[in-house]
Symmetry: C2
Subunit: 233 residues, 2 copies
């Protein structure tokens, strides 16, 4: 889990990479400019070498994506393992889910790639294990525990994807633009026929300027309440 940085070249002509540096730079590229910025040529440029060299470390782009995803999930896992133990299993589960959600919000590309990780090994499995451990202390059947963790992961990913959709054009100045973005839709929704769209009218004020994290917390809380009730506590 440590990250030995590739010995930074001193006047060498040919570039010298390492699995670690490739994945770290790929993640940095995704963080800074999104999925479309992660190309073999751009990655090679950052590493100071040729595009073909990367194929020595990964077989193709799918594998690059999988490994990079698992690489950053390692960070999430580390953050979750640092969480202080709360006595209540459901409180622990909530804290873990929030940590995972925060990580996905910071790296919006993660939402789309999180699920496509088809590796049994690796950090995704460890994360799954961590999320499941609190349920062992709840009075549930094995099947209920299995479903509980699936539900929590589903809520996290579903909410994160909902939230992570890109804005139509003005992607810069996203801090200010986001409220304009919501306001623009809210304005259009208010123009709709109240007879035909009673629900949209009911919630348009809540939608306008709403906080994504609060929205996620509310969704998570519904699942956790259902779970607590199922455990009979």
């Amino acid at each position: 889990m440590a990250r030995p940085q590739t010995r930074t070249g001193e006047g060498r002509r040919r570039a010298s990479h390492s699995m670690e540096s490739v994945l770290a730079e790929a993640a940095a590229l995704l963080d800074e400019a999104g999925p479309s910025a992660l190309t073999f040529r751009a990655l090679a440029g950052r590493l100071g070498g040729g595009a073909a060299s990367i194929y020595w470390y990964v077989a193709n782009k799918d594998e690059l994506l999988d490994r990079t995803t698992d690489y950053v999930i390692g960070d999430v896992l580390a953050a979750i393992e640092k969480l202080p133990p709360a006595g209540d299993p459901i409180d622990e589960l909530r804290a873990m889910a929030l940590t995972l959600f925060d990580a996905i919000v910071e790296r919006s590309w993660l939402a789309a790639y999180f699920m496509r990780n088809s590796d049994v090994q690796g950090n995704a499995l460890r994360l799954y294990e961590k999320l499941g451990q609190p349920t062992l202390r709840l009075d549930l059947t094995a099947r209920q525990r299995f479903h509980a963790v699936s539900a929590v992961v589903g809520v996290v990913v579903g909410s994160a994807i909902d939230l992570g959709r890109e804005l139509p054009e003005g992607f810069l100045d996203s801090g200010v633009k986001r409220d304009d973005f919501l306001g623009h839709y809210a304005g259009a929704w208010r123009e709709l026929d109240p007879e035909e769209f009673p629900f949209v009218h009911e919630i348009v004020d809540e939608f306008d300027g709403h906080d994504d994290v609060e929205q996620f917390r509310a969704a998570l809380e519904l699942t956790l309440t259902g779970l607590r009730r199922q455990a009979g506590a």
Copy 2:
């Protein structure tokens, strides 16, 4: 919502499309061979014309994806509107969520594109309205209603994405292969250290050969019980 097929050419040289035929053919391409099969040239081939012609109907591929997504959401919406009214609002919400989930399962590409629809207009908004209407009959605040629908959509999409990940290689004969796929992972998981992975060992038998729809229903049920409890019923 009907799909008038473009009058099948009788010896015409030049192809003659329509917005409808473009979207229908794009959806068919996605259904039959997945997202990677939807290229402008392949689509033009099915329509019997040149690739550049499609740019008269859509500005770019993003818009093609958005419009195609909204097009098939129209089908989902039609299915949801055909649902018989159940007295209980939560029962109605569950029926709608299941219908939406089924539709996404049938068209696995939908899960990834469902959320990226940034159009205020269109069928997505109407679907959102439909999902929200049952909550109007529950004793909730506007904010709680807003969060309730977000939660349900999150569970549906999150579960559908979890389920829709492609198998590593053997994608053909998916009927039989799926159990092998699960079994392969289950086998690997059983080899793990029980001390380090107590949860994975607890649920591995549940994972092996599990039913996706049941898994989703369980997750949805947790959210719905939480919601029912919130409504004080």
